[in-house]
Symmetry: C2
Subunit: 296 residues, 2 copies
């Protein structure tokens, strides 16, 4: 079996309310990844701005851009200049009153490999995403690139085994989650620890259940609540890459920006799935309840 | 919100080829759990015998018993004597040439609360279960008991997010996995560590994804391969109970028998699911692919 290693770079950053600064920070980090040999670079969720969903404010929709448009032109150029496959996470203006949280993947030559519109949309205090984002309508389709078939999902999707499984069943070689998650500063420390650990566990669990490597890229830094209602969000960083047994290959810190590259074997999945052939034994005739809201 | 705590006991044991010894060991441990206040006690997979699936041998079918039958009469009595809800894992003879790996749950009064026939059946070198067990035909149905609705699954099921989710959608209060898993003694140490960690990760991930506590009870001790083909299985113990954020509540050691009791809050799930309401946002209209073998 021929080994297939991809060098994967991740960019965990703190975002500025100055768009130009946030973008410049991403570009510098992409270059740093390239210098470390990265062929695939993954940015965090909504990396061109602070996480604007802490309040519901109609003026925020000004940040959204059409796809293709200003943002995709810019990152297409960055992908081409660095000769990397680039996973971005953008605020898409599709029409007046119709916006999505959309990951766009660029090929090494700057062409668009594909896009994914976030399917699962959260809505919790300080994460008012249902106000901003229409749930995705492109389904769970991996994006074919020159480095492999990328199962790109976004943030809240990371809690859903269904999303990871569907990407695996469609032949994804790797699961990828740009994300933006942090603590409620008002929560006690032990609850904060449980939440952070739960976030890692569920994603590493998807890697295991599907025999796939997984990349999760989260933002870091504190962002105040513009409405002053909450104490703001300390984003918890902790971006990581794990292999198909959930084993950690690269671990970012929590409190500071981080750029790093790991060697990820896409052929290791073949070995792992031969030992633990979960796909062989799925009881698909007994799974119809999964398409129901609840079964009581 | 009224707190609902259940004291859950687990019995991790090494099994003897002398059936009477294996059963006596279980009974002693159930009594010890009761003395520590347990209302619910969970035994490991196929606790009345060594793990007989290391070889394919037709004489092994002699171990199977009808349900109801000798085994259920015995454990019904044990449940009643100890006034506990008891989760057992039995080799069921349903008809000549038709056998199942079946968990039977007894009420505190010794009545049968319900049974679950293992749905996902593995088959790997030293785990020749497809020879012995017909895949279950009772679906994923939690079992109602006086201590809650038990989402009882068995061993190989533990790798399947679908099984855990279906139990959750049917109102399970807790996920329960009697299991029998160990290392291939021929594997290098680092692979052994990855496998053991993957096993914990995927189950704790199910707890998180479904906001449910989870109990996994594994056997311990070395069992030789009767055929002499492999080096036998050192079962890795490591039974555990975790809460709905995957947080460890009770952790057994790997190499020795263990009996222990933990306080498990069934009402904590209500709190956790209010913070992280994953069930609210499932994209059920986009999940039909989950009922397919593969999507390429």
């Amino acid at each position: 079996m021929k080994e297939n290693i991809v060098k994967v770079g991740i960019v965990q950053q703190a975002c500025s309310s100055d768009r130009e600064v946030s973008i410049a920070t991403s570009i510098e980090a992409i270059k740093a990844c390239k210098q470390q040999g990265a062929e695939l670079v993954i940015l965090q969720e909504l990396h061109t701005s602070p996480y604007f969903c802490q309040t519901e404010n109609t003026e925020v929709f000004d940040l959204a851009k059409p796809i293709p448009g200003e943002d995709t032109e810019l990152f297409s150029k960055v992908a081409k200049e660095n000769n990397v496959v680039l996973v971005t996470s953008l605020f898409e203006r599709r029409a007046a009153g119709l916006y999505h949280n959309t990951a766009v993947v660029f090929e090494k030559d700057g062409s668009t490999a594909g896009k994914y519109r976030k399917m699962h949309i959260p809505d919790d205090p300080a994460y008012y995403e249902k106000f901003y984002f229409t749930p995705g309508d492109l389904g769970f389709e991996p994006i074919q690139t020159s480095v492999g078939k990328l199962g790109v999902l976004v943030c809240w999707d990371q809690w859903y085994p269904e999303a990871a499984r569907l990407m695996a069943l469609k032949g994804a070689d790797i699961l990828i989650y740009p994300t933006a998650i942090g603590w409620d500063a008002a929560e006690p420390k032990e609850e904060q620890l449980r939440q952070n650990e739960a976030w890692k566990l569920v994603q590493r669990g998807h890697a295991v259940a599907n025999g796939l490597p997984l990349v999760s890229v989260n933002r870091t830094g504190f962002e105040a609540d513009p409405s002053g209602v909450t104490k703001g969000i300390p984003f918890w960083g902790d971006s990581f890459i794990c292999g198909p047994q959930g084993e950690i290959l690269l671990q970012a810190p929590q409190d500071v920006a981080f750029t790093g590259v790991a060697q990820v074997s896409l052929s290791r999945s073949e070995e792992v799935r031969r030992i633990w052939p979960f796909l062989r034994d799925r009881r698909i005739e007994a799974y119809h309840g999964l398409t129901k809201r609840y079964l009581e």
